[in-house]
């Protein structure tokens, strides 16, 4: 019914993923990092949906639902951590969290 080639959908997912990845690597504000992670998760979901649509299968959308669930849970915990971090250190800078330093 549609004439959208598969590779365009996948390429869109890849581009969104790449942008999210740049955000994770570049930003120091933890809120932005979390947003970038959301972008990456969403792009993964997009890839599933595109593939599912290509095969005319519902399983791609089921996987997107799983990812959505995961993202919801992850955001809830992540935001809780941000709040706790801000209370403790009065900052949203992830460079402050360097207790893993060797």
């Amino acid at each position: 019914m549609s004439l959208i080639p598969l590779e365009h959908g996948i390429a869109l997912a890849g581009l969104l993923f790449a942008i999210g990845l740049v955000g994770v690597m570049t930003r120091r504000n933890i809120v932005f990092v979390l947003m970038s992670l959301e972008i990456m998760l969403n792009s993964a979901g997009l890839a599933f949906v595109v593939a599912g649509a290509h095969h005319a299968s519902a399983e791609g959308q089921v996987m997107f639902l799983m990812i959505l669930t995961l993202a919801a849970a992850e955001v809830a915990v992540g935001l809780g951590l941000i709040i706790q971090l801000y209370r403790r250190f009065k900052t949203t800078d992830i460079e402050v969290l360097s207790a893993l330093k060797g």
Partner: protein, 162 residues
Amino acid sequence: MSELFYAGGLIAIVSTLLVIVQSNVVHALIYLVLSLLAVAVVFFSLGAPFVALLEAIVYAGAIMVLFLFVVMMLNLGQASRDQERAWLPPRVWIVPCTLVLVLLGMLLPQIFEIAAVTNSPFVEVGVKAVSAELFGPYVLAVELGSFLLLAGLISAYHIAKR
């Protein structure tokens, strides 16, 4: 429908780019909502109306509102915007962008190569088909998902508790 796909895709890419370069958190969130809505349009154009709605309601609605609440609780003002600008001189973008461009440079040719083999038109898959899958073979995954959400709920409550 393909016009819808390309328009949505373009808006998604542009607004996502704007998300990661913003210095104001609230602006970034608005762009993120825009990006997610654009992806919802893409889903719709791909013949997946159910997930398009979920994307709009859950992602762009619920999750982003959660973000917004938190940002409001943190109450980051002008000082934090200045801080953001100070943290983002042009040079910090160089290395991540280079890496990601290399990655894309390897990824995209592969994508176009594979997809060229199986190029068939998209077919719409509606709510009924998705529900049948969800409560059929994937009912266990749905249960696990509910566990995950419960665990997320409890741990978020516990962590954010004073």
